[in-house]
Symmetry: C3
Subunit: 338 residues, 3 copies
């Protein structure tokens, strides 16, 4: 069970209700009245808890689980031990996510603006916002309804932010236009100057950074990630893309819609990712590249050329994954010969 110091104990849900909420079907519809009152992993679940099987790595846990019920792909149902109640879904992880959301709804504090917050008189704050201690909101900022701004966050002058925004503690947001449903975690830095200067023997000459950061909407940006504003034109994070922690997004980068960026990725200036790209942790991209939609870039790759749509690349300099794996295999064979 989730620690009650941090999470409210869930209400009980019938399996029929779980199936309805998650678009699933019960393997045995007569079990629709069975109540689950929590979620848990297969190895730790108890008799009234709902679990799920998604990653095959954990298949062995299925046979010994004490869970009250399990969300599972129909193809795997035959692996389940007799007596385990099954909730059948072709997307078991998604179904689990929806069930867990129902059991553990996000607990938003009651709307309130802390007396210690410093809000410029020209700022416009929508209805039902939570603004915590020591938040700073600058001149002409506009924030839509339902925002939750955690303590010490700073939103600088002129930023426009949509509905249901959430900013973690110590986030810094400047030169930004942000759509609905965006969540920035603690320590995120949005909108600082890109790393732009002309080299000169007498010292670098700073290039004014005159663009913005545009986050279209429905995006999460992980803790301590940095997104610089554009030099001319904008840095753009497309709708529904999610970024993990400690990522660097340089000026004028464009990320398409629905991309997944794992932690510690670095994307150099003006590089563009299409839609639905997936990039592994610690990968890096040179500047001024075009990465096609649905491209997949393996963790730790160093991408130095354009990547066609739908291809999977790896290595440094990054190359199509098959080529990379042949290189690795060839090297290993050569060593084995000796």
């Amino acid at each position: 069970m989730a620690d009650p110091s941090f999470f409210r104990k869930p209400a009980a849900f019938s399996l029929a209700k779980i199936a309805g909420l998650t678009g699933s079907e019960l393997h045995d519809p007569s079990q629709g009245d069975f109540l689950v009152d929590d979620v848990s992993s297969l190895d730790k679940a108890t008799a009234t808890q709902l679990s799920f099987l998604d990653n095959r790595k954990y298949r062995d846990d299925l046979t010994v689980t004490k869970a009250g019920a399990c969300i599972i792909h129909p193809d795997f149902a035959s692996l389940a031990p007799a007596g385990l109640r099954l909730v059948l879904s072709k997307s078991p992880y998604k179904a689990y996510a929806l069930a867990a959301q129902a059991l553990y709804p996000v607990e938003i504090p009651a709307p309130q603006i802390a007396s210690t917050a410093r809000i410029h008189p020209t700022a416009k704050i929508g209805a039902n916002c939570v603004i915590e201690d020591f938040v700073v909101i600058g001149e002409n900022v506009e924030i839509g309804e339902g925002a939750w701004i955690e303590s010490h966050a700073v939103i600088s002058k002129g930023c426009k932010i949509g509905k249901n925004f959430r900013a973690g503690s110590h986030a810094s947001i400047s030169y930004a236009v942000i759509g609905d449903g965006v969540r920035l975690y603690s320590g995120v830095r949005i909108g600082q100057d890109g790393f732009g200067f002309a080299i000169d023997p007498a010292g670098f000459v700073k290039v004014p950074q005159l663009g913005r950061v545009v986050i279209e909407g429905y995006t999460e940006v992980g803790a301590n990630t940095t997104i610089d504003r554009g030099a001319l034109g904008d840095t753009v994070i497309g709708k529904g893309s999610w970024l993990d922690n400690l990522i660097q997004i340089a000026h004028n980068v464009k990320i398409g819609r629905g991309c997944i960026l794992a932690s510690q990725i670095g994307i150099s200036g003006s590089t563009e990712l299409g839609d639905y790209c997936a990039v592994g942790g610690q990968a890096g991209f040179a500047g001024h590249l075009k990465i096609g939609s649905m491209a997949r870039i393996a963790a730790k790759s160093g991408v130095t050329r354009d990547v066609p749509a739908k291809e999977e690349w790896m290595g440094y300099p990054a190359m199509p994954m098959k080529q990379y794996l042949r290189q690795v295999a060839t090297l290993n064979k050569m060593i084995a010969k000796k």
Copy 2:
């Protein structure tokens, strides 16, 4: 045009004035009275805007640009379409930077110390400083004139800082001696303990970190970058070196003058870089190395040996770039044979 929510609309400048400010010449001196009132990229510029061509990748944009004028290298002037006013410079990017600085001067707020700032009575703050909300300045801190300390920045006891300092929101500065003209972005961490301990079966034994961070002057340090103080002696960032976001500088590292460090670089303890080194993103350096002046280290390299001055290295373990590229080519040929 830059978004007026964030940037003040520029005054118009004549091309003659632009040429004078940037050390450039007009291709057709009779166009000196033509007024430009903004800067833009070639593909987006309109009839009264000034653009520039520096990266050849964008050469095609030149032929179709609607810009009012373009800063360009004399060697490329012949590529420009008839009717495009040309500002000739052998350093077009630098000339653009200077023009953009003139059109968009940095807007420093009027000097003011926020009532919510906590400034120790022994601290000495120079004239004309801006100190924003919730800033904390400790005992015996000294800050020169013209500083701009953004909200929530913390400058701990004893730090000495020169003129025209700027600290982004949530920056933490301790055990530091900082020259003139230094800018630290949001979330920078300066002066925390280096990662020093002796290994012992009963638990690590902490080694007191008794040095400082010295930033000589005219340096930018990007968002969320961390610079640890020395163990014995100082960690030093030389004059005019610029650091991007999310870099790690360990204790007793010495960076020379005029170095460029791209984002997410990590430099281990006591390694020294000479002057005018350029290091690509995500590169890493082992400890106790000496990197010669003007060395160039490619992105993602892992440097494990000393690098002679002026050489270009790449790979992991890093090696001279030619050797690395031969390795890559050799591997690719071997695979092609099969």
Copy 3:
């Protein structure tokens, strides 16, 4: 000498006392009354300062040092110049650490709670705590005696923290259970949501993150490092493990006891490290791996498979170090042939 702006001038210690505090022996016991009043590196030490030799790279400094005394391994004593007083220790770096701790004890401010701190009335704060300006402490937080919470740190509702805790400025701590003797540096992010979502054509479906971060005790966590809480179950940092700056620890990672993690490492979800592992900077780990106790992973490695205990791995995909070095050597030979 350490800069008196930051460090209090040490009291003088006799070599006999130093030997006693560090478990060392004097090479010449008649020198026990000699007083040292500071520590320094061999190349900079003066006649009343104590130095040490640990890294052989600095052996040449030994012959020319002007130090008053030197901590050294008995096997190296014969290298020392005549007249240099020697403190003999089989763990010279540890002995130095203990001596430096004695000369430079940590200066903890007098217990005090800043008037600007916002502490929830239900929070329980132990005796003798220092709570600096603008700290925020939430509902039902419990903090043991002797804590030092630097300015702007935020400890969110429900966190339980042991004795002698120290949090750097701007640290964010949520959903955490923390043992005794833990130090978190500036900008650390503890307890934010792991990067968990189900992929769906209509947009990612967030998976509620219902676990915690458990830091067992006696751990340091470097500046701007991020540790996400578990999805189901906890993310765990074992007793006595030390983490450097800018590290990413994903949800449900388990780190054993006494591990050393250098800066900019990334560990993906659910990967487990055993006890006493050592990992070099910028290394990355895929998810759901098991790394055996006392494994050593070289800097910049990309670990994609389980690693047996006590092995040393390197490269990407990571492999046993011998195999990796053979690959490098083979490639270099092939190129040399041409």
